[in-house]
């Protein structure tokens, strides 16, 4: 023990998590008593210090963490230097995660409703009662021949959890495992799917990139991998010899725009026009990668199939998106469009980045086209799967789930239409989370609803209609660590351990190459909680029959061991290191086997998987070709013919008359409170939430100074934000870096439940939003609500 480095120290302590008393073996680090009288100042610490690796779950970055466990208490979180996303860094949410673990409002025992729905009366039950009740309920549904009446709404599901939930619902016999992707990243995923043929969010190799065109991608505050983009921008700026340029295209400046080289305050919802205007300049000036667009692209030039002539991307853009015309739509001067496009093309590799959560792309079918148009800029300059360009996320090979045994009841149930209308009512949708409420209110029958990581009452636009929908559902089970806005209307509330107390893996995403990170209980769970996956395992085993046969594992830890047995390491090493990866991203050679299998086209369901990047979306053509012009118009399309399959600008279908409601409402995600609704109950995060505007503990609405002057409003005025769908009261903040026609409200304020620090603090801007679902893609309409603001 005489000589070891810090690195070894961390390793040793990780390897022997929960057992070794590393510090205890070191004199001078041990606990002493009555040292006040000692001759020299004496450093004191815990008797036993153990470092346990785990992974954060307070945003989708999934940063590796090292938990310092001192005498059985978790006292500090640090970023794990070995995790490729954060490389030792950790944001304020991760640092404050101990306030989630040791929160005074944690749920401690399973609860069954004892009064009216929402009355807040509960009685404690045992886990066995809960398991028996749920298993009985699901078995009854199966016996009645209606297993599809069970539905599961899930939020952030990491690693194996999504496929685990899907498998459970399939085994029961329901197609209704519904993700809340439609609230955030789905627009970007679909845009990548209909162009590149990969159903995933693209990765961007920022470290090797010279130029970033960020279309609402909030690099420094929120996004699918915000820590990854923070690190990338930091490296681009000062980590290397040449400094990259960052251009932020967003109605709101925010921290990302303030730190960028240039901020382009675009008219909300017009990103498609701007991207196509840029494509126009690229094509006209000959700045495109001719080899790529012709050899590895489809539909760039006009083409004909079976004697029918089709318009290609090139002529479509040249005819319709002259920068002078685009200027009128976007408010971005034509000269600026030309200059930025020239810079982008001449400073390759560079990337045009899609927004995840926090952008203004979502909201209509125009959001899908905007995403496609933005992503095509990358293809036009040929930087798909190139260093400094767009990468495709590769994954660790997981052992396949065993085949489900033959089960006629489940097979019939799985054939039923989905509750959210994805794939039927919304033809392009994979998930339409927020539409569940509307379908239930319109008479869709649901018997049993599971909510896990899902708080639809709070987090869906117009989410309050879920309360009415819940009243039509006989049995609701919520898995939550806190009595949140949705759980309070449930029949069973089952306490979930926080992410620091449970087993869960993580596919490392955002870095391109494959990796697995592991959450493990850093201490014994504090309360009588059960990992949601373990609950479903035990329900399956209690149900018996084919459902039990589908889940032959004793615990979720065993499930993970099964699924991760072939990733190239053993379980103990994974536990010790917390992360295992195959570092190094190797771009595929254009057109070769890996290109076709991994980079372009491999996720396409109907269109050819020929390794060609679609400038003319063949997959979209397969999905929509059979529709009549009336049906297309009903999907929100103003065009017919080839234009439907080419990215184009669709004016957003705004809710609220422009004269009565002159302002666009944009709900922004903050670095501090993040996208996870439980984070609102962490007092430290509440305290630092309003740093940019000098506010704390309560929400606000941001307004341009000129707009405020016109409305006779001043800083800190109490104001009412009103839309055709409702009103909320909050405080006004004056923000110069914001378009005069847009107001921002921060997300994660205005909870009606969820704990003492979250409840009744500020206002939730989502409650005044239209609850509509975009008719083609099933996306929530986040950005097409207009509001007015007046003094309260």
């Amino acid at each position: 023990m005489a000589h070891f480095t810090r690195r070894q120290f961390l390793k040793i302590s990780g390897a022997t998590a929960g057992v070794a008393a590393v510090a205890g073996a070191v004199p001078g680090l041990t606990r002493r008593s009555s040292t006040i009288e000692a001759a020299t100042p004496q450093f004191q610490t815990s008797g036993e210090d153990v470092i346990v690796p785990t992974v954060c779950l307070l945003c989708p970055s999934g940063c590796g963490m090292l938990a310092r466990v001192a005498d059985g208490r978790v006292v500090k979180m640090e970023g794990s230097p070995m995790h490729p996303i954060n490389l030792g860094a950790l944001c304020p949410k991760g640092q404050a995660s101990l306030e989630l673990l040791y929160n005074p409002d944690r749920l401690k025992n399973p609860l069954r409703r004892s009064g009216e729905r929402g009355s807040g009366q509960w009685r404690e039950i045992t886990w066995d009662e809960a398991i028996t009740e749920v298993a009985q309920r699901l078995n009854d549904l199966r016996q009645a021949g209606h297993p599809e009446q069970a539905a599961l709404l899930y939020g952030e599901t990491r690693g194996q959890l999504r496929s685990f939930f899907d498998r459970f619902m399939q085994a029961v016999g329901s197609p209704n495992a519904i993700s809340k992707d439609s609230l955030n990243v789905e627009a970007a995923k679909l845009a990548t799917y209909y162009t590149q043929g990969i159903y995933n969010f693209p990765n961007y190799d920022l470290e090797n990139s010279n130029y970033i065109l960020s279309f609402g991608a909030n690099l420094l505050e929120a996004g699918p991998w915000v820590q990854r983009t923070v690190a990338g921008q930091s490296y681009m700026r000062r980590g290397r010899a040449t400094r990259g340029k960052i251009v932020v295209i967003d109605p709101r400046q925010g921290i990302t725009g303030a730190k960028a080289d240039e901020w382009i305050p675009i008219v909300p919802g017009t990103d498609a026009a701007l991207a196509l205007g840029m494509a126009h300049v690229l094509i006209k000036a000959g700045l495109i990668d001719f080899e790529f667009v012709h050899e590895y692209g489809f539909g760039f030039e006009d083409f004909s199939t079976d004697g029918v002539k089709h318009k290609g991307f090139k002529n479509f853009v040249l005819e319709n998106y002259d920068p002078r015309k685009v200027e009128k739509i976007t408010g971005v001067p034509a000269t600026t469009i030309s200059r930025l496009t020239g810079e982008f093309a001449k400073n390759q590799p560079g990337v045009a980045m899609l927004a995840g959560k926090g952008g203004m792309l979502n909201g209509s079918i125009g959001g899908l086209y905007a995403g496609m148009a933005v992503h095509m800029l990358n293809a036009l300059v040929g930087n798909i799967d190139k260093p400094g360009g767009v990468q495709t996320q590769r994954y660790m090979p997981c052992t396949s789930w065993p085949e489900l045994s033959s089960d006629p009841v489940a097979e019939a149930g799985r054939q039923q239409q989905r509750l959210d209308g994805a794939g039927s009512e919304y033809p392009l949708a994979r998930h339409a989370y927020q539409a569940v409420a509307d379908h239930v209110l319109n008479g869709a029958s649901v018997d049993t609803l599971f909510l896990t990581g899902a708080n639809p009452v709070f987090e869906a636009p117009g989410g309050q209609r879920f309360i009415d929908a819940f009243s039509k559902i006989p049995f609701i089970v919520s898995f939550a660590s806190f009595m949140d806005d949705s759980a309070q209307y449930a029949d069973l509330v089952l306490p979930e351990p926080t992410f620091l107390e449970r087993w869960q893996d993580d596919h490392i995403e955002g870095i391109g190459y494959p990796g697995i990170a592991l959450r493990q209980p850093v201490i014994e769970p504090l309360y009588n909680t059960m990992n949601t996956a373990d609950f479903f395992l035990r329900v399956a085993q209690t149900m018996g029959g084919p459902v039990a046969a589908a889940f032959p594992w004793g615990s979720y830890e065993e499930v993970l061991q099964y699924r991760l047995q072939n990733i190239g390491t053993d379980w103990d090493t994974l536990k010790e290191l917390g992360v295992w990866m195959v570092p190094g991203y190797h771009p595929a050679r254009r057109g070769n086997e890996r290109w076709v299998q991994e980079v372009v086209g491999s996720d396409r369901l109907s269109a050819p998987r020929d390794g060609r990047f679609d400038f003319y979306a063949r997959e979209l053509s397969c999905a929509l070709d059979a529709l009549s012009p009336e049906q297309l118009a009903a999907l929100g399309l103003s065009v017919t013919g080839d234009a439907v399959y080419l990215p184009h600008y669709e004016a957003p279908p705004y809710q609220g008359d422009a004269n009565d409601y002159p302002l666009h409402l944009n709900v922004i995600t903050l670095m501090s409170l993040g996208p996870v609704s439980a984070a609102a109950n962490m007092p430290t995060l509440m305290e630092i939430s309003g740093m940019t505007v000098g506010e704390t503990w309560r929400g606000w609405v941001e307004m341009n100074p000129e707009t405020a002057r016109k409305h006779f409003l001043q800083k800190d005025d109490e104001v009412v934000v009103e839309s055709p769908f409702g009103r909320v009261q909050t405080r006004l903040k004056i923000v110069p870096g914001l378009r005069p026609d847009t107001v921002n409200m921060p997300y994660n304020f205005g909870h009606t439940a969820g704990g003492r620090y979250a409840k009744n603090r500020g206002a939730n801007g989502l409650t005044v939003m239209s609850g509509q679902t975009e008719p083609a893609t099933g996306l929530a309409a986040f950005t097409n609500t207009r509001v007015r603001v007046r003094k309260a």
């Binding site: 006040i36 100042p41 640090e78 950790l90 305050p265």
Partner: protein, 240 residues
Amino acid sequence: MPKWSMVIDLEKCVACQACSIACRFENNTPVVSPELAWEGREMRWNDVFPAPHEESGDYPNTKTHYLTRPCMHCENPPCIKVCPVQATFIDEEGLVRQNYARCIGCRYCTVACPYGVRYFNWFAPEFESPLEQHLNPDKIEGRGDLEGPAVRPKGVVEKCTYCVHRLRKAHARAEAEGRDFRPDEYMPACVQTCTGKARFFGDMNDPDSTVSRLAESDRAFRLLEEVGTHPKTIYLQEGK
């Protein structure tokens, strides 16, 4: 004898506030009630905020600059001169420290400090149970000293220590392992967590250390240089 210094590159800083919160959990600064927070009485030894008077230009040619502010650990600290009981002092390694056991709560130092980085405990810190479980157990005691993360009582002034207990801990570990202490074994919590890798820490007496080299940069500046405090927290200017 090392002289500790911190360099913050404002170009790489993304105003995420991780430094503030890493500091809170390392040094056990309490969350104050919303009412006190509205009065500006938050206890964050390292605060992040939009730089005052620097928001310039009209829309759309406007830009906000953000500043992150730990203690400057001045070489000529005004806070020491006004302390009537020598509760605050500068040690041989250049750290400006606070002996809570001596502090009488007169708050002269909070007035004298031109940077506003001294925080007074108007009330005894409260941690609603079981939040107190996460408190860092590290502390420094002896000879009347009471420093480091140990929760402070009501009526004393507290401040950033560059995580002096981490320095002590690193020394103790080196001693236990029978070897010399190396300056790179010690860094404050804010430096370790920085998401933009904007913070650097090290020995200013070593001409080859990162901080020494960065301090020579033409981007380097110190806050309120003109008042003659000679801060050892050095900033690198944005956008140059």
